[in-house]
């Protein structure tokens, strides 16, 4: 990773610290700055309220030309998060072909937080969950809340 990229990551971290998102905490390791550990609280207005989610943001060597890679370490019932041990997200600006260098981690964090508030079933990675969300909202909410209790406390 180039020094320029490192400089940029440091700069972005500083910006995130100066302007923290509510309920978002970043564990930053100077030694390994390409891997950020994020602790995100489920937004109050969402079904994930009360849950505490651990995420990882990995910066590829080509950052900022390539998007950071986001993965949920805590299991979550969400149409846009893969329901496997990777917990990967793949939508919007996180797509390599849609990522642009001026995009920033903070917008990634915003994206994630907003997706917790309002999932995007049309761009889902878990189609069955998306279907649940669209057609049987009550059931979706119930399962999501149940998963919060089971995995995200």
């Amino acid at each position: 990773m180039s020094t320029g990229a490192k400089k940029r990551i440091l700069r972005e971290y500083a910006e995130c610290q100066n302007d923290p998102l509510p309920g978002v905490k970043i564990n930053f390791d100077e030694q390994n700055m390409t891997k950020w550990e994020i602790l995100m609280d489920g937004p109050d207005q969402s079904v994930y309220a009360g849950g505490h989610y651990k995420l990882e943001i990995n910066f590829p060597n080509e950052y900022p030309f390539k998007p950071p890679v986001v993965s949920f370490k805590t299991k979550i019932y969400h149409p846009n998060v893969s329901n496997d041990d990777k917990g990967s997200m793949c939508l919007g600006l996180l797509r390599p072909e849609e990522w642009k260098p001026p995009n920033k981690v903070i917008s990634v964090l915003h994206l994630i937080r907003n997706l917790l508030i309002e999932p995007n079933p049309d761009d889902a990675i878990e189609l069955s969950i998306a279907n649940d969300y669209k057609t049987n909202r009550a059931e979706f909410d119930k399962t999501a809340k149940d998963w919060v209790k089971r995995y995200a406390k």
Binding site: D19, E62, F65, L91, E97, E98, P102, I106, S107
Partner: protein, 552 residues
């Protein structure tokens, strides 16, 4: 395994019990002029091919019957003097025997069989006396039945051949002449001067099975099959080479005509040669005029591009976003000033440009960067502007050899594009404008739903506000202004039309997964990815790809 030829001839051999017996003198064929010779080259019916795998030969004799009734019946078919076991050397363990028996009744035939099994003959000849057909009936014929369902054949450990009645009686007739002492045989007087008087002179039969003849023919057959296969392979290979060559030329033509940008459609990662990069304008940044700063102060370049360079989003440009329309820069210039100057900071490192101080590099799309930030990327990773994905290289620039992999990928992307849109438009091809716009339409739809997500955050502080504007607007702008040669033309077709990370058909998914993996791995590993791919994989795969260039 069938008998192809039977030769009857006359041999003389010494009595094994005589003192003059020695191996060198055994089995001497008598000259034709003084002996019997009788070839049977056709009309041989193989009744049983048991142990018939080799050419067999031996002294001809008529086996003994057991019952008196059969002996009586036999008289009608076998002359009294025909060679019998008793006319052969008594101590004869080493003497090969071939039996000849008339098939006149099943009962007596069974007795013949008993006898020949005891004698351990090498071959049994049979004939049906009194019949005048040239070819004896085939094995399945009822006349060969002994009431045991054909079990007699497998009970023998020797092959059985049927000859016709005429040959049978000729041989038997001759046999009577060659059963006694040397002096009694035809020309015996002449022969006895040269031979020991105790020598035997008997008829000898040799059976040639076509096992020997078939062996070479089997090889010939194999060679023919092989040759046909090779011809097919060669023809296929040649055809595929020709087809592939035509496709390569076609693709090259399209690239040179500017119909397609290999990198923009996701076929081949290109990089910018250093000499070309050095020709790109680089100058000292100077702050934009005040009015523009007032109207759209901190918006990121892509937003500016999207909103200010309206002409770019016209369908013509949208339809062929991979084409660097030569009018684009002049259009953006037309609104008074260069939009490049509205970019206050470097999108790569996010540092602000210092007016009259910072050296910037301007790409043909008018985006500006620190040379230190953009140059290595263009040299090593991509020839597309990282912001708008417009090619830095002039249209029609065909950098490398067009490889089969590139052809394949381009075709696949085109097919994927063809498959996606519904309706008659699909026949126009993925790159024609209606579909393109259709895809964009659906994309915009998706983006609009995404927009809610992006517009949700409330901007609390002024400082963060502008940051937010940059960070949030950028992804939006790329999608919301699709005609700007931004999102659509830039992303590979398959990726663009893919609604999620799932629901793609298998082949495409594999290709995409690989594509994505390559992307995530980083371009540095695939500076010239296609050639690498061509030479990758196990040896057999590489070989197959060489022979059949279309092969994946």
């Amino acid at each position: 395994m069938t008998a192809s030829r039977i030769d009857i001839f006359t041999v003389r051999f010494p009595d094994p019990s005589s003192p003059s017996f020695n191996d060198d003198q055994r089995w001497i064929t008598l000259p034709t002029n003084v002996s019997f010779r009788y070839p049977i080259t056709d009309n041989i019916q193989t009744l049983s091919s048991k142990n018939a795998g080799y050419d067999a030969s031996g002294i001809l004799y008529v086996p003994e019957l057991r019952s008196d009734e059969c002996k009586k019946s036999e008289e009608a078919y076998v002359p009294a003097n025909a060679t019998r076991s008793r006319n052969l050397p008594s101590s004869n363990p080493g003497i090969p025997l071939i039996a000849l028996a008339p098939w006149f009744s099943p009962t007596c035939m069974k007795e013949y069989l008993e006898s020949v099994r005891k004698d351990s003959v090498r071959v049994l000849f049979v004939f049906q006396p009194g019949t005048d057909r040239a070819m004896p009936p085939p094995m399945a014929d009822a006349s060969w039945g002994l009431g045991d369902g054909g079990a007699w054949k497998s009970a023998n450990d020797f092959p059985t051949y049927a000859i016709n009645a005429a040959s049978g009686s000729v041989i038997l007739a001759q046999m009577t002449l060659y059963s006694g002492n040397l002096s009694e045989v035809p020309h015996g007087k002449d022969l006895s001067s040269a031979l020991d008087s105790t020598d035997y002179v008997r008829l000898w039969a040799r059976v040639e099975t076509d096992a020997v003849n078939r062996l070479p023919s089997l090889w010939v057959f194999l060679i023919i099959v092989l040759a046909i296969l090779m011809t097919i392979i060669a023809a296929t290979s040649l055809t595929m080479h020709c087809v592939q060559r035509r496709r390569r030329e076609e693709l090259r033509r399209r690239v040179i005509n500017g119909e397609i940008n290999l990198e923009a459609v996701g076929v081949k990662r290109l990089t910018v040669p250093r000499e070309f990069l050095e020709k790109l304008p680089s100058y000292t940044y100077s702050a934009p005029a005040h009015d523009s700063e007032n109207t759209m102060p901190q918006l990121p370049p892509s937003v500016l591009l999207a909103s200010s360079t309206g002409p770019d989003s016209q369908p013509t440009a949208g339809a062929r976003p991979w084409m660097r329309s030569s009018s684009a820069p002049s259009l953006s210039r037309a609104d008074g000033q260069s939009p490049a100057f509205s970019q206050p900071s470097c999108p790569i490192c996010l540092d602000d440009f210092e007016s009259n101080e910072t050296q910037v590099r301007e790409l043909p799309c008018r985006h500006i960067f620190h040379p230190d930030c953009i140059d290595p990327y263009l040299l090593n990773n991509s020839s597309l502007c990282p912001i708008c994905k417009e090619s830095v290289m002039p249209s029609g620039y065909c950098p490398t050899r067009i490889t089969n992999v590139m052809v394949r990928r381009e075709r696949m992307l085109r097919r994927a594009g063809n498959r996606r849109p519904s309706g008659p438009a699909s026949s126009l091809g993925p790159l024609s404008s209606p579909i393109h716009l259709g895809l964009l339409g659906s994309r915009i739809g998706g983006v609009i739903s995404g927009r809610r997500v992006f517009s949700a955050p409330d901007h609390r502080r002024a400082r963060s506000d502008e940051e937010m504007a940059i960070s949030n607007a950028a992804p939006l702008s790329t999608d919301a202004a699709p005609g700007t040669a931004t999102s659509s033309g830039a992303t590979p077709l398959s990726a663009r039309s893919d609604p999620g990370c799932g629901e793609i058909d298998h082949e495409e998914r594999r290709e995409r997964a690989r594509e994505r993996a390559l992307t995530l791995l980083g371009n540095r590993h695939v500076p010239s990815g296609d050639e690498d791919e061509e030479a990758s994989g196990p040896w057999w795969r590489r070989g197959l790809r060489k022979v059949f260039p279309g092969f994946r």
